[in-house]
Assembly symmetry: C2
Homo-oligomer: 421 residues x 2
């Protein structure tokens, strides 16, 4: 059974461009990995007539309708009213939901107004989707051959509710279970990864293997459907092994959020500390590691050395080196990393120096030439990167430079050569 | 004449959740400010039958259809084929577009394959929208009471093409001109700004005044329609003056991209340099200023002092102070800023120290308590911020801390008290 899905977002703020429809993106990813085909995304404003038409249309062209937004008191529960009406359902008061709403206000210490309890009116016979992240409950019901799921709009409520409440309900529509594993790849371009795997991807049906391109990275998601979790895992394992044997240690993790998260966990596990010395990345490496809770156990600090003075006086890069070779060269990258290690008193340090653009530097080094270095107590390693090209803008050059710095630490921790690309 | 618009995005990658439909968001903002009402966003995959139905639907329910994506050789120019067919147009070869495509490849040094020239087939009688940012030309035409605009999908092509090519064409559909001005506000919550201005916003029709909430900031866009640019400007001026008199120096700029861009321009104009000392923001302040081209003229460098050791040994914060008061206090913020100024040799420096969460610190300081300081040669100023609350996550606390640091410099450059909130 292959269900088709339409995602319908309700909210004038989307049509004004005040916010982007990120719910559609995130739900689409989740739905794909559940083996459901999303055929349409639609957005309408807080307008009952146009919403009614959109719901009728979705009813006619997809068998699962998932709405986001238009719940809650500020929009008079527009979505619930219109959807219930279109599918011929009455709204009935749910004492259970009312109590959850009262509990939410008690827990957060906010004042509850009466109209908040209007949210407890839900389509008769529906499955209530609990909202532990806000006040508006969601719901799910079947009507003939149609399945309907309603979720609140704010991503901080919509996405966890989908995962914890709606996805299990949707899975109940079909036999068996779905499991997926995401392998993350750094160090090979998107198109090369796809070329390498295309034949295999096309041949596979269960599990499926699908690539997702990200800035400078590729995610490969293996999704299997089976009667039991154990059987699904057994389907995934050989495909994972096959991908890993093709891509080797370009695969930096399975079901992990990012390179920096792998680095943070690796350093923590080994009781090691790190520091940064950043020129072209201008603080981005430190920023990315400190985005993560718990980074204070690992990061001692960093130096952003945007001028030669700071490279020389704070990091101890020799003046002669800067004069003779300029700031963008392998030796300066190495000296920056070693200087940061000494100044910050950390076990490992990484550095980046290069030309982020838009213009080449005063020595004529091209945009995209970046040196990234890693130093430990005994040695220093340097990668020379050529990140130029029309698609590589300043922000992408900086992001890739930071990725390489984390990749060097990752390889170091794995006992691999940090210079290897 | 009030036109209604449907935005139709074409691309399976959107339905898989591989990318978000940011074009819809950005175009919606642009269209609103042109006085055009966006009623629908739709997304379909690279499927001719479903695309044809979506185009028919848009034709019936909106008078302007704007498509994004599905141009170019990799998708066989799907959108162009289907849209032309639906509106009964033939595709004809445009030698002018073919030459632009050849020029693009000559300019970027890439190899041109034959299928690239297929992009030069365009609907008969259309206005060609030039693409100076990629290869696929766009087009615009009228068919009865319908207007159609086709743009490529990549945001780096779609958005500049809309602004420079499509918007003037759309403006030609109606009499007069549209002008808008965006005032950017920092230091007052979104809901308070809206409360303050709601009555005025509701009363205004030409110009209109519309707020856009951003993380920690508010944008106010004033949009006027008139026969000439001069008349439109004359309509905007009194509303701008009124908003400025209500919000005072919370308005940090008109038609400027960000606080850091205002700071960068201000420092450059005065020939001043800056540096940073960051604890809880972990490099974010330096990262944000170095996101901007030309920042090397202003930023000397920065220190990320994530441990007390680094605060003490690199920035010279007195050990006694750290022992007695801990790292999160006004005196440490001040000492960090002064230390950074000395170590980095800059005119002004900013610092941030606080608790970004998710947990309170070892002294029991609550999540969201942040001190931000600014030092010049003679003085130091400190702001104490309480950024806690359920909606303030780690990333938001860090972003707001950085905003305050930039706001302190902005006020300093304007001759205002940097401590004033």
């Amino acid at each position: 059974m292959s269900h088709t899905v339409e995602l319908l977002a309700v909210g004038t703020e989307l049509l004004l461009g005040n916010i982007a429809n990120t719910d559609a993106r995130e739900l689409s990813r989740e739905l794909s990995s559940l083996g459901l085909n999303v055929y349409y995304h639609s957005v309408v404003g807080d307008n009952p007539a146009r919403l009614r038409q959109a719901v009728e249309l979705a009813k006619s062209r997809a068998d699962i309708l998932i709405t986001t937004g238009g719940l809650g008191p500020t929009c008079d529960d527009l979505t619930k009213q219109v959807v219930a009406e279109t599918f011929g359902k009455k709204l009935v008061f749910s004492e259970e939901s009312a109590q959850s709403i009262r509990d939410f206000f008690a827990r957060t210490g906010k004042a509850m107004t009466d109209n908040n309890l209007q949210q407890a009116w839900l389509p008769e016979g529906c499955t209530i989707l609990k909202n532990r992240w806000g006040t508006a409950p969601g719901c799910a019901f079947r009507s003939g051959n149609n399945y309907v799921v309603m979720l609140p709009g704010p991503p901080s409520e919509c996405l966890p509710m989908f995962r914890e409440e709606a996805a299990p309900w949707l899975m109940g529509l079909s036999e068996g279970v779905i499991r997926s594993r995401t392998l993350r790849v750094f160090g090979m371009g998107e198109s090369r990864v796809e070329d390498l795997l295309r034949q295999r991807m096309n041949a596979l049906t269960n599990p499926t293997l699908a690539p997702y391109a990200k800035e400078g990275e590729v995610e490969l998601r293996i999704t299997a459907k089976a009667d039991t979790p154990r059987e699904a895992e057994a389907l995934i394992a050989p495909v994972e092994a096959e991908v890993r044997s093709l891509l080797g240690d370009l695969v930096y993790g399975a079901d992990v959020p990012s390179l920096e998260a792998v680095v943070l966990a690796g350093l923590k596990g080994r009781g090691l500390t790190m520091g940064t010395a950043e020129s072209c990345t201008g603080g981005l490496i430190a920023k990315r590691i400190t985005d993560l809770p718990g980074s204070s156990a690992v990061l001692k600090g960093g130096v952003v050395s945007y001028t030669n003075e700071v490279k020389q006086h704070v990091l101890g890069v020799p003046a002669r080196l800067l004069e003779e070779q300029g700031a963008v060269c392998a030796d300066v990258a190495a000296a920056m990393a070693q200087g940061a290690r000494r100044v910050l008193g950390c076990d490992l340090s990484v550095s980046a120096t290069g030309v982020a653009g838009p213009d080449s530097d005063e020595r004529g080094n091209p945009v995209g030439l970046v040196y990234v270095a890693l130093a430990d107590r005994e040695r220093v390693w340097v990668r020379e990167l050529h990140l130029g090209g029309t698609r590589h803008r300043r922000d992408r050059i900086r992001a890739l430079g930071a990725n390489h710095a984390f990749d060097m630490i990752r390889r170091y921790l794995d006992g691999k050569d940090p210079e290897q690309l």
